[in-house]
């Protein structure tokens, strides 16, 4: 008969042997984080860009549609992973990316566009902003300035650091930054959440600003999962921004959103409340959406709104003045895909916003993988009033103008 002690030892040994054979399951990639067990078999996945670009002649450009009286054409191509856009004083279009390490410049030379690599060796340089002769670049962990860059595109001088240590933990998830120059002369940028649905640390899931002369971080908005587009209402000077809601709560919920910052430091809900009125199944327990700012507009689930600008050009009809154009880069986290358009948002005097399609046709098969042949990332109002649209999937810039 075995003694109780030796039996216990044998049991402990066999349990530890079993534990070695069956290690704990791997932590999922950040985009899969928060995926419920019921969706474990889901094959939904984000789409990666063609980093070497695809020639426009191989693409179904004839599928692109704009409203009557407008036309769309390819303005420049061969710009690896064309993401955010910034317009120089002399007309140079600066183009960023998030997976590569360069910043590109597009120069219009008598109707032909020349693409130059102007900055190299950067760390996910997704944010670009231009102001008073200076190009500012937001990398993963810092913002740098390149003074007088349009006079030295072939050999820009070394960048000067505006602010550093923005990503001390080398966070997973949303580490790339959007950058914009505010009417107050301060640089605005996002620090995204480090995963799909996680508790952010003291500086994450926020929009911040920095005075380039001081280099001190100031918080502008909290509870923002990831904003990769922002601009200021030309009349009220209030900041508006787009925000990506969490994934894996189903095809139709929650909505991605458009927001207005009516008071600095407002909290927009992440990770507790989504789209202003849905409590998160985990973090929202015992909370109320009433404590958070509401969105100005729900944009649709998973459509991934990126760049947004108020239209201030003179080319489009008068009713487009101060409308908002929003580039939709998704959806991927949806069994039937939607989005992949540039939308026009009209905000009335009472602040009511409504949305309609402006540039469509990238989405060709809502059930296919991939479902689209191009993905809008940013929009930029050119000096002549035309609208540029970047497409990181193909490395192309499109120009939407009034048809003559």
């Amino acid at each position: 008969m075995k003694s109780p002690i030796s039996f216990a030892v044998a049991a402990a040994f066999s349990i530890s042997a079993l534990a070695q054979d069956k290690p704990a399951a791997a932590p999922p990639p950040s985009w899969q984080q928060g995926k419920p067990a019921a969706l474990a078999e889901s094959t939904l996945h984000p789409f990666a860009p063609h980093l070497t670009g695809r020639p426009s002649k191989d693409l179904p450009l004839d599928k692109l549609k704009v409203p009557a009286g407008f036309k769309v054409e390819v303005w420049a191509e061969g710009i690896p992973e064309a993401r955010s856009l910034a317009l120089g004083d002399k007309g140079t279009v600066f183009v960023s990316n998030r997976n590569a390490s360069s910043v590109y410049a597009v120069i219009d030379k008598g109707g032909k566009r020349e693409v130059k690599t102007v900055l190299k060796g950067l760390d996910s340089p997704n944010g670009v902003a231009f102001s008073k002769g200076t190009l500012y670049v937001a990398e993963r962990g810092r913002i740098t300035r390149y003074d007088g860059i349009e006079n030295q595109l072939d050999k820009p001088s070394e960048g000067k650091v505006v602010i550093d240590n923005l990503d001390p933990s080398r966070q997973p998830g949303h580490f790339w930054k959007f950058l914009a120059m505010g009417p107050d002369g301060k640089l605005y940028f996002n620090i995204g959440a480090p995963g799909n649905i996680v508790m952010p640390n003291y500086m994450q899931a926020s929009i911040n600003r920095v005075d380039p002369a001081k280099g001190v971080l100031e918080n502008v908005a909290l509870g923002v999962r990831n904003s990769v587009g922002m601009d200021w209402n030309p009349k009220t000077k209030e900041l508006w921004f787009t925000n990506h809601a969490r994934d894996w709560l189903g095809d139709d919920s929650p909505n991605d959103t458009l927001h207005r910052v009516s008071k600095p430091g407002a909290n927009f809900g992440y990770p507790f409340c989504h789209q202003g009125d849905i409590l998160d199944p985990e973090y929202g327990k015992n909370r109320s959406c009433a404590e958070f700012s509401k969105p100005a507009l729900k944009l649709g689930a998973h459509i991934a709104p990126l760049g947004m600008r108020f239209y201030t050009g003179k080319m489009f009809p008068a009713e487009y003045q101060n409308n908002i154009f929003i580039a939709m880069h998704g959806s991927w986290n949806r069994t039937t895909k939607q989005g992949y358009n540039v939308m026009r948002v009209v905000v009335d005097e009472k602040g009511n916003a409504k949305m309609q399609p402006f540039l469509t046709g990238f989405l060709t098969d809502e059930k296919a993988d991939p479902p689209m042949w191009g993905r809008p990332v940013d929009v930029l109002v050119m000096k002549d009033g035309a609208l540029l649209v970047s497409d990181d999937y193909n490395g192309i810039l499109y120009r939407v103008s009034r048809a003559k």
């Binding site: 290690p23 791997a26 985009w31 899969q32 996945h45 980093l51 070497t52 670009g53 997973p172 991939p370």
Partner: protein, 190 residues
Amino acid sequence: MILARINAAAAAAAFLFLAGAAEAADPNLCAACHGDAGNSTNPAVPSIAQQPAQFISTSLFMFREGNRKDPQMSPMAANLSNAEMNELAKFFAEQKAAPPKHKSSAASVQAGPELTKKFNCTQCHGAKLLGQQHIPRIAGQQFEYLKVQLRGFKAGTRADIDGNMTSAAEPLTEKDIEALTDYLAGLSAQ
């Protein structure tokens, strides 16, 4: 034996010289290391036959831009244009993968299917591990090459377009890496 090595070195030198010259996008130049039609016979060199085109062009881009570094591949990619990378990608994507020479151990064959599920391999590389879009085919890939990549991802030293592989490799033990790669290297790609 020694003579053969010298000849091989001379051939490699001549090949590098040619690569630097006119036809940078000639797929035959890739064959010197990656094997006929991109089917490698060297366990340390990856097969590029029947890889998704977007994976090949992405890899070449990463080598040219310096995100990935390799003493052989970095100089090969340095002078390729985006268009040439797209051409090479298309060519090798259309080549058929040869049956693998690697013979997996019985233990790996048994454990493999569960491991590739548990460690999320099939989630992105597909049920048959043939890759898709920018994600490579790992079924029938070379054994030593796979090991080096997984160790690199785990150490955070291998460039990773979206962080997925770094996350996926993080919990792997050296024993897991051995078992996974031994299994994958012996899988048919057809």
